[in-house]
């Protein structure tokens, strides 16, 4: 019993350790950038999942709230700088959260009047509305250039001079601390009556009404909570990059958080965390290696929607179940190995074809040779294309054939589950 209890603290402890160590060890460069982006995206995705996974509300305009939080924070930052008020900047994410919360109360009142598809469309419309507004209010949105700020103002934290967020290390710790606190707060929210009733409204809004809850009220409250945390994530972005522009409220950002959350798995608490990290990896790391990363991301997303709607978290859970069953594993080892090899081959073929096409379209001036998988391929030569096509089709066909064989032999995967009260 106590062993299980100790295990529950493990992710929290290891998370705290990660946050403490990573900025210290990787004080510059790539990993540092990833760290900040991840922390921001994790909070953003968790806030989004309060709507999607927990309450069953699909929103296409969530960046409105994180954007409002970012703008509120940057304006507050500039105000502190101008008026020399002695407020520690580290508390500003609260301002961002509250600014976004206000937006959530007003805009949420409008959008939560409907549910399902209509709600999704309203959020799209509201997102476009705010996006179209940004040219109309240059003082607030900063026009083309956005609004810049300087975070080394205001009172130093705890009065210790030198703790004024001037260094990268300090801002990393602040961002990391807020990220950790937000994760804890959202976790706590899910364990409250409101959190559980939100699940009920997601599953069966009608029945929830028949046990005394106004579905509309629940949705509105959850949207307000979600907007608060989205605002915090926006505030962290504002403090970290010291600039806020229309991108922070745009439809692209709304799409990004949707992708990240869904890819991670909306039926699990840790799903959005996983998805945020994977997304940041795609966006920051993969984009260094290939210009087609958005295409890969989109394809990945579509395949998940069709085949694995539980997201990466569900896939990992299934994999864990499969791996634990040793006898069945031995039986299937050959097939599983071949399937994995086929999948990798077809993926390789796809990447080859995409990269070659990209090269021909976008970098035609650089010659016909493109470097994929540490090998040079000549896009002018038919052989390279044939190879790509062969790998892709052979791999896909083999995978499909093996998959159908397994289905016929063993039946559909019994460990496939779909959500629940967020675990």
């Amino acid at each position: 019993m106590s062993a299980v209890k100790q295990l529950r603290w493990l992710p929290w402890v290891s998370g705290a350790v990660l946050i403490a160590l990573v900025p210290a060890i990787f004080s510059q460069g790539f990993i540092r950038l990833l760290f900040a982006e991840c922390a921001i995206m994790i909070v953003f995705a968790l806030s989004y999942n309060l709507l999607l996974g927990v309450s069953g509300m699909l929103s296409f305009g969530h960046a409105v709230y994180s954007g409002f939080g970012a703008y509120a924070t940057i304006h507050a930052l500039n105000w502190i700088g101008r008026s020399h008020v002695s407020i520690p900047v580290t508390l500003l994410p609260l301002v961002g959260g509250c600014g976004a919360l206000l937006a959530g109360v007003v805009l949420g009142f409008v959008s939560t009047r409907r549910s399902g598809t209509a709600f999704a469309m309203i959020t799209l419309g509201l997102g476009e509305l705010v996006g179209a507004c940004w040219l109309m209010f240059p003082k607030f949105f900063g026009g083309e250039g956005g609004i810049a700020g300087n975070r080394t103002v205001g009172a130093p934290l705890f009065g210790v001079s030198g703790w004024n967020l001037g260094s990268d290390l300090q801002i990393d710790y602040v961002v990391g601390a807020w990220c950790f606190a937000s994760i804890a707060a959202i976790r706590a929210l899910l364990g409250t009556p409101l959190g559980r009733v939100a699940n009920a409204v997601r599953d069966n809004p009608e029945r929830a009404e028949f046990v005394g809850y106004s579905a509309r009220q629940v949705r509105w409250l959850m949207l307000i909570a979600s907007s608060f945390f989205a605002g915090i994530s926006g505030a962290l972005a504002a403090l970290n990059f010291e600039i806020v522009s229309a991108e922070n409220v745009g439809a692209l950002r709304s799409g990004e958080v949707l992708l990240a959350t869904f890819i991670g798995g909306i039926g699990y608490f840790h799903g959005p965390i996983l998805g945020a990290v994977v997304f940041v990896f795609f966006a920051v790391a993969l984009s260094q290696w290939t210009k087609a990363w958005q295409l890969y991301l989109g394809l990945f997303f579509v395949i998940l929607v069709l085949r694995a709607p539980g997201g990466l978290a569900a896939l990992l859970e299934r994999a864990a179940i499969v791996l634990r069953d040793f006898s069945a594993l031995r039986r299937r080892a050959g097939v599983l190995g071949t399937k994995t090899a086929a999948a990798i081959l077809s993926l390789g073929g796809l990447i080859l074809l995409v990269e070659m096409t990209y090269h021909r379209t976008l970098e035609a001036t650089g010659g016909t040779v493109v470097r994929v998988f540490w090998t040079d391929f000549d896009t002018g030569h038919l052989g390279a294309w044939a190879l790509g096509g062969l790998l892709l089709s052979a791999g896909a066909l083999t995978f499909g054939w093996l998959h159908r064989q397994e289905l016929a032999a063993w039946g559909p995967d019994p460990s496939a589950t779909s959500g629940g009260e967020t675990r």
């Binding site: 009556p193 699940n199 069966n204 028949f210 046990v211």
Partner: protein, 252 residues
Amino acid sequence: MSCALALNDVHKRFGRTAIIRGVSMTLSAGERHALIGPNGAGKSTLFNLVSGRLAPDRGRIELAGNDITGKAPFEIYRRGLSRSFQITNIFHHLSVFENLRCAVLWSLGYRYAFWRSLERLADARSRAEELIERIGLSERRDTIAATLTYAEQRALELGITIAGGSSVVLLDEPTAGMSRSETERTMRLLRHVTEGRTLLMVEHDMDVVFGLAERISVMVYGQIIACGTPEQIHANVEVREAYLGTATMEPV
């Protein structure tokens, strides 16, 4: 005797078809009342009108003297009326325990609390555990509702309905699709659980009707054609022709 539920000349039409054509009923507090009639008579529609799923075109519905005509379901629930559904209407992704815990939260006054931890609410937990015992699903406490068998889902459906302790309970065909033994178990459960409460149920199983009900109303084509004690209904010629058939029925 005080009047728990009163319907006064209620009408409802869909498009050009009148489904409920002037229904009036009164139920006294603590009464067990059955509503029977052939399929398509409008019994489910009447339930929907009383519980707030639909609003009547004309007429008045009163719950313990308060006007609830056309109010929203959650408002009616908060005033003390709950209902079950003919087609099971549960929270499919939650476990049995969570289903019932959600059902008791409002009546225990927790509302939209986001500052209290659910695990610490001892009364919510004990109420839910008690209900699980009552409806006989102790072994399935942590099972996800969507994976329960049909009979178990019906039991859960009933559990959700009575969870809040409403004074007026509407049951829509509670024993539909059940075997003989399941039906008898459910009857015993219903008798036990609705003591001191007002019960209005739609039923097709005549054994259940005659075994549980103190009064029976017969509904045909959107109107009540007869209302009275089981003996009176049993003896009523019109009712026999319209519904019961001519075979003799022995009251249980």
